[in-house]
Symmetry: C2
Subunit: 106 residues, 2 copies
Amino acid sequence: MTDANEEAPPIASLPTVLGALQDPIRLEMVRRLSNAGTAVRCGALYEVINKSTATHHFKILREAGVIERLVIDGQTCQRLRTADLDEALPGVLPPIIDAANRAQRT
Amino acid sequence: MTDANEEAPPIASLPTVLGALQDPIRLEMVRRLSNAGTAVRCGALYEVINKSTATHHFKILREAGVIERLVIDGQTCQRLRTADLDEALPGVLPPIIDAANRAQRT
């Protein structure tokens, strides 16, 4: 397992993080990562869109500091930077995830 | 005082609300409204930008359900729909305001 933490950029500004989360596809990626509570292989984080579109969305999330990429057993995975996010923007993410989970159920 | 509640649209979806908040100018408008805790005349909610740009941003916030417009003593004001937001998206706004306040102080 590659530890991606060494190269993790700082969490971006609040507007940039909100901008990363406001896209429905990216919000769904983050929701799945949060619910998984661990690294998840890229392909399990989206449907419908193609791989290059997904790569674009992962990049925006990564540059905002929301997720990090790591390679586990040769598979590229994404992981939510939960602790870093909660330190930089305390309490911002959990209610957003809760609301996204509720929206998913309705 | 005109009660704007009668015509207030429903709070928009989570991505739309986050999209309304992710712009630095709109986030600052919402931060000032939240800190004021009451209706605020439009001109006190922004600097630098001109009135028509401000009107555009108010419209996006209003359509997302984040704010409502009301007229007090002939002056157009904006008010944060705090209770409606907290009912539709519980807990989402307060930590965003806290983070915005912290960013403002640094």
